[in-house]
Amino acid sequence: MEEQPGLSDQYRTASPWPLLVAVGFALSEVGVFLDIFPIAVGGILLLGGSVAGILGESGYTRRPWRTLAFLGVGFAVLGGALVATQLPGSSVGLLEIVGDPNGIVGRGLAVVVGGTMLVVAGAVSQAVGRTQGV
């Protein structure tokens, strides 16, 4: 095994996350911009999961599942805000608009769905982890 003169070995030299962060980012961008629901949701799941993973791996956060849930909340709020811009000010048109989404609402909903799934995944895993850990 070769020694690395001049190079410290303080870094792990392999991590699965960067590739996944990049692919997740690309998929969510394409999915949301082109309004393709499955790709948008899948991309957001991948992006959220891998960002939580990479943050945990590099020690920025200590509970990846909780990070995952927080990221999910972020996405859900963003998507919700996007949907909200399309709501008529007074009436309660939410159901109608969700039933027949226009371009912006459809995109917003995809983000909300992706975010919510992240929250659920994060919360469930956190709970499971806790019961196993004890």
Partner: protein, 599 residues
């Protein structure tokens, strides 16, 4: 439609499951995931995984965060993009041997013309420079790695999806390649309903994000990771140019990204950013695009200038003449490059006073460029010049840069530009620089550091063939283009079957054929290059000499070759492990470096 959605959903699901399976295979992520953290103390056990090797095979390349591996990845990616963009260029030249167009239809011509430009600038140019900077900046400044190794890897992995999206129009059903030209001028680019354009814009956006992440990383690395004995005073010239380039990227690329997002919104969600009348109109796009676009050309040329400034003295037996002034001129170009963008818009009818001031700054930018040129020439003056392949490419760089630069100065003068704008003269001008200078400096870098990349030497005769074919090919092709510009041949045309009463058709045809003949020389040269690199990498004998260029004799043994020497010495002492010279695979790494105690 609904079934299409279903198929996509299933595909997406399968893909995500695949990802999960991949993750559980390659990563024991309990080692850093305090899954059992609720119980407390679980993390201590994770620290027991102390020794962890870099995985083998393809997984290593998919998961690496080592700057040298990432440099090799960028390099491979850049060479592939160069091949794709080069074949597109060759098709363009093939089309233009006959006035009516020899091989392809007009629409397809427009599509490959667009894609050639975008591929070369965004998928070849920026990444191939990143290949060198990733591999060598940490070595040159004595750093362990980049400041943010994982972000470094993310930046690289954004590029393959970017390339797929940019080329998607060509191979996805129901789409065609974008026909916007690389400048994507509105209203044309808003009006084309082809989804291929949207995909291309999204791909461009990804490459922009990638370049920005890389730039932040380089700035952080050069500022904070330098070894104690690397000061601002003795920082090498390549690192200076990368630092300046990164600053330019930081200001230019996010702007392009926003402009592209606005264009996408105009196309898909009926916003009116660039709409004529109620929006900013076509001029808004041109201003935004060129505020990015001109710095972009210096983003592409500064690091190659750094490569030449670094390599040329090593084969001249002298130190770089006027080192300080080369650094100052780099910084000056960096600042000035943001003040010249409207020289691309001289014929749009902007205010003549604006035109005059942009002309003044554009002419001023020639001064620092000339400072560099004179410094390179004086470095060789009375030196002990050794005409190795990398040196030949450096000298070719200077020659082509002078031609490209001087034609640029002419274009910067408003009256001349009004005659030559949008003709082949412009195409000749910038190709002298992008191919004749940037391309040549890249080749110089590949040959100069080939022993470090591979532990072997390239085949010298093939290298010489590569140089001469490229040098002659470049000058035949692009000089013919300058001449075509004088003949009034407009750029971007798929055919040129003009009325011979208004155009010297015979001469135009002849010059187009000359340009295509040069392209054949270029193509042969690049085939030789690829063959030489691949074959030498795989089959050349191991290089025992860690100082293949005899740099010690002239006291120019840089940090990267010192590192290479240490590595070679260790490898030989170990019995010369074969693969190790490529990059450091399979090393043992302490896993607990980033462990923290649990709460």
């Amino acid at each position: 439609m609904a079934s299409g959605q279903l198929v996509l959903t299933v595909l997406m699901g399968v893909f995500l499951v695949g990802v999960a399976a991949f993750l559980s295979r390659v990563e024991d992520w309990r080692s850093y995931t305090p899954l059992a953290s609720g119980g407390g103390g679980g993390y201590g056990e994770a620290g027991a995984h102390v020794h962890r090797e870099k995985p083998a095979g393809i997984t290593r390349w998919l998961t690496t965060v080592d700057h040298k591996d990432i440099g090799i990845l960028y390099g491979t990616y850049g060479v592939i993009a160069f091949a794709v963009g080069g074949l597109m260029a060759f098709l363009i030249r093939l089309q233009l041997v006959a006035p009516t167009g020899a091989v392809v239809g007009n629409e397809f011509y427009n599509a490959i013309l667009t894609s050639h430009g975008i591929t070369m600038l965004f998928l070849f140019g920026t990444p191939i420079i990143a290949a060198f900077s990733n591999y060598f900046i940490p070595l040159l400044i004595g750093a362990d790695d980049m400041a943010f190794p994982r972000i470094n890897a993310i930046a690289f992995w954004l590029l393959p999806p970017g390339a797929l999206l940019i080329w998607a129009g060509f191979f996805l059903p129901g789409m065609s390649g974008a026909q916007t030209a690389w400048t994507m001028y509105t209203p044309l680019s808003v009006e084309q309903t082809n989804v291929g354009v949207d995909l291309m814009l999204l791909g461009l956006h990804l490459t922009g994000v990638s370049a920005t992440m890389g730039a932040i990383n380089f700035i952080a690395t050069i500022f904070t990771e330098r070894d104690d004995d690397v000061t601002w005073a003795n920082l090498d010239i390549f690192s200076w140019t990368i630092l300046t380039q990164s600053a330019l990227i930081l200001f230019a690329f996010p702007l392009l990204g926003s402009a592209i997002v606005m264009l996408l919104l105009d196309r898909n969600l009926a916003t009116t950013f660039y709409a004529v009348g109620e929006g900013g109109g076509p001029m808004l796009w041109q201003h935004l695009f060129w505020f990015f676009g001109h710095p972009e050309v210096y983003i592409l040329v500064l690091p190659p200038m750094g490569l030449v400034s670094y390599i040329l003295p090593r084969f001249s037996g002298r130190k770089l003449f006027g080192f300080k002034f080369v650094v100052y001129s780099t910084l000056a170009i960096g600042v000035l490059s943001f003040g010249v963008w409207a020289h691309h818009m001289f014929t749009t009818g902007i205010d003549p006073r604006l035109r005059a001031s942009f002309m003044a700054v554009s002419l001023a930018i020639a001064i620092p460029s000339a400072v560099k040129t004179f410094n390179w020439i004086t470095t060789m003056w009375n030196g002990k010049v050794r005409l190795t392949t990398p040196m030949l490419f450096c000298i070719g760089f200077i020659s082509n840069f002078i031609l490209g630069g001087v034609t640029g100065v002419f274009l910067a003068s408003v009256p001349v530009d009004q005659v030559l704008h949008d003709t082949y003269y412009v195409v000749g001008h910038f190709h002298y620089i992008v191919m004749g200078a940037i391309g040549f400096a890249i080749f110089a870098g590949v040959y100069f550091w080939f022993p470090i990349f591979t532990g072997r030497m390239y085949q010298r005769t093939l290298g010489k063939w590569h140089f001469w074919l490229s040098m002659i090919g470049t000058n035949v092709t692009f000089f013919a283009m300058l001449f075509l510009g004088y003949l009034g041949m407009p750029r971007r045309y798929a055919t040129y079957d003009f009325n011979s009463a208004i155009a010297p058709l015979d001469m135009v045809t002849l010059m187009h054929q000359a340009a295509s003949a040069g392209a054949i020389l270029l193509l042969i040269g690049q085939l030789i290059f690829v063959w030489n690199i691949l074959q030498s990498w795989l089959e050349a004998p191991k290089l025992e000499d860690a100082d293949p260029w005899d740099l010690k004799e002239t006291d120019q043994h840089g940090r990267e070759f010192q590192w290479h020497e240490r590595r070679t010495a260790t490898a030989l002492a170990d019995g010369g492990e074969e693969e190790e010279a490529v990059t450091d695979g399979g090393e043992v790494v302490d896993d607990d470096a980033d462990d923290t105690s649990d709460d």
